[in-house]
Symmetry: C2
Subunit: 327 residues, 2 copies
Amino acid sequence: MYDIKYFLQEVEKLFAEENFLGTPRELYEPIEYTLRLGGKRIRPTLLLAANALFGGNADAARGAALGIETFHNFTLLHDDLMDRSPLRRGQPTVYQKWDENTAVLSGDTMFALAWRYMLRHDSPRLREALQCFNETAIEVCEGQQKDMNFERLPLDGVTLGDYMDMIRQKTAVLLAGALKIGALLAEAPEAEVARLYDYGIHLGLAFQLQDDLLDGYGDTAVFGKKTGQDIRDNKKTYLPLRALGLCDASQAAELRTLFSDKDNMDEEDKVRRALDLYEAIGLRSEVEKAIGDEFAKCLRALDGIAAPEERKTPLRELTEMLVGRKK
Amino acid sequence: MYDIKYFLQEVEKLFAEENFLGTPRELYEPIEYTLRLGGKRIRPTLLLAANALFGGNADAARGAALGIETFHNFTLLHDDLMDRSPLRRGQPTVYQKWDENTAVLSGDTMFALAWRYMLRHDSPRLREALQCFNETAIEVCEGQQKDMNFERLPLDGVTLGDYMDMIRQKTAVLLAGALKIGALLAEAPEAEVARLYDYGIHLGLAFQLQDDLLDGYGDTAVFGKKTGQDIRDNKKTYLPLRALGLCDASQAAELRTLFSDKDNMDEEDKVRRALDLYEAIGLRSEVEKAIGDEFAKCLRALDGIAAPEERKTPLRELTEMLVGRKK
């Protein structure tokens, strides 16, 4: 069981065995649709692997694994509504396939279903695990609000620090929270729980920066998304924000123009100009360095955890998968 | 402490002492706005009174009281968005005062804040209380979906049984759940918890039927709403659904016409025609009888609870307030 495939398969089995339909069907069909769309299932896999790292009772962890993934999918459902994203994993999003009210209410219900899974099994440290889950949920909402706030600001209005804080809340705390919940349910010592959480934060940051990098430099055929979508959308990701610090005055002016464009430019021209500028200032290697730094912190935290080395293998494999990924 | 005023004041104090603001302010201002709008605070009052009925530790109940009211206000916030209601308690609703995305995300965050309050204090039966809270939340969502489904159906498409089932889920289970949570946190015996839940269901049904009745027969000056709003909105409440069973064929045709009108009729004429029809078939006394039946079941359940009679006084007072109310 000490490889990541084992846990990925466990998670697939968990979802395959679960029934997500109920009455009224108008409420549950969008939920089942969302939870069957697939995805990488990273969070429940991390939760199970963290639980096994400390020899936990997998039963309690299995409920929580379903819960954390259901919560994650709820946030995607509502985010897609708020961002008016038509597609998710190549399929129409719920508000598109049904309507906005269905997206609101099915999402709310998914949040409650996540709690049902979290509460499915008792455990001596259940309350702590639930508190971690809930504080994580609140941070994810705060991160989403900050992300939406950024949309209304000019490129200069968001600092790299603001951005790192936003992705920590919107992305990293949920990976860290999944790990912590798995460890708490295994009754791991406080200090190890804290180290595992720290590992998760840096994993999440590295993961998100990698995602930002792939938008500019990914192989479309492998990544599955069109290169430069964040540039088309004027998204203030790590790339343009880091770029600003490397630009001279005229380059900075060009960057500001590109990222405040209200659909007047030819889209492909805009992407090309941004990527040319990135190339001129050597952005790619700077971003790779930042990812490398987070990756190193992530592995250092993992090294510091007092647990049998072979039990860490799955987490090391998952880390490599997520941070070294091409998609 | 054995009167309802004591608990209503306790609840007011709880809310007055709490800080609902946080960062980012765009997320928390609509939450604080919603939670400061007031309202009758029935659910937390029921929770505290049920807790005291069994001599519970008020501390654990206080967190849960904040939690249940925060949850209730979250559902109102999202319902107002879904129903496109511009006003709540005489003030603009969140989606009107801010925007739709703010309503979605602030609502989601309120649901999580409700959980923070529910988890604030430990208790030997915390997990059961949390499960009750969560299953209640799921039923409320199911009830809201059924209510939305009814809007798309003709008057004949909804039976009285469907309607009672919908209001049980949308309204009654939250009153019953509040009582049950209060009792569980007081470690009340199973049988008494069940009786209290039963009391809450019938209280909730009587309360909602009373609300339906007031729409048709309430004194606008006292009720604070314009008479006949449900008729203007073609809302399939207990009134027209019960009326169908009392009508002859031509009256039934008239009722169907009135409740399928797509804004072609003069609104006041429509309300008058519906109320005239109700008068002709003696609807009011029939609805009052149904309310009386639920009220009787409610009091019978309360009588059956093994607890000191003087401790039941607050619940008796609240029942009288809610079911005998003019607004």
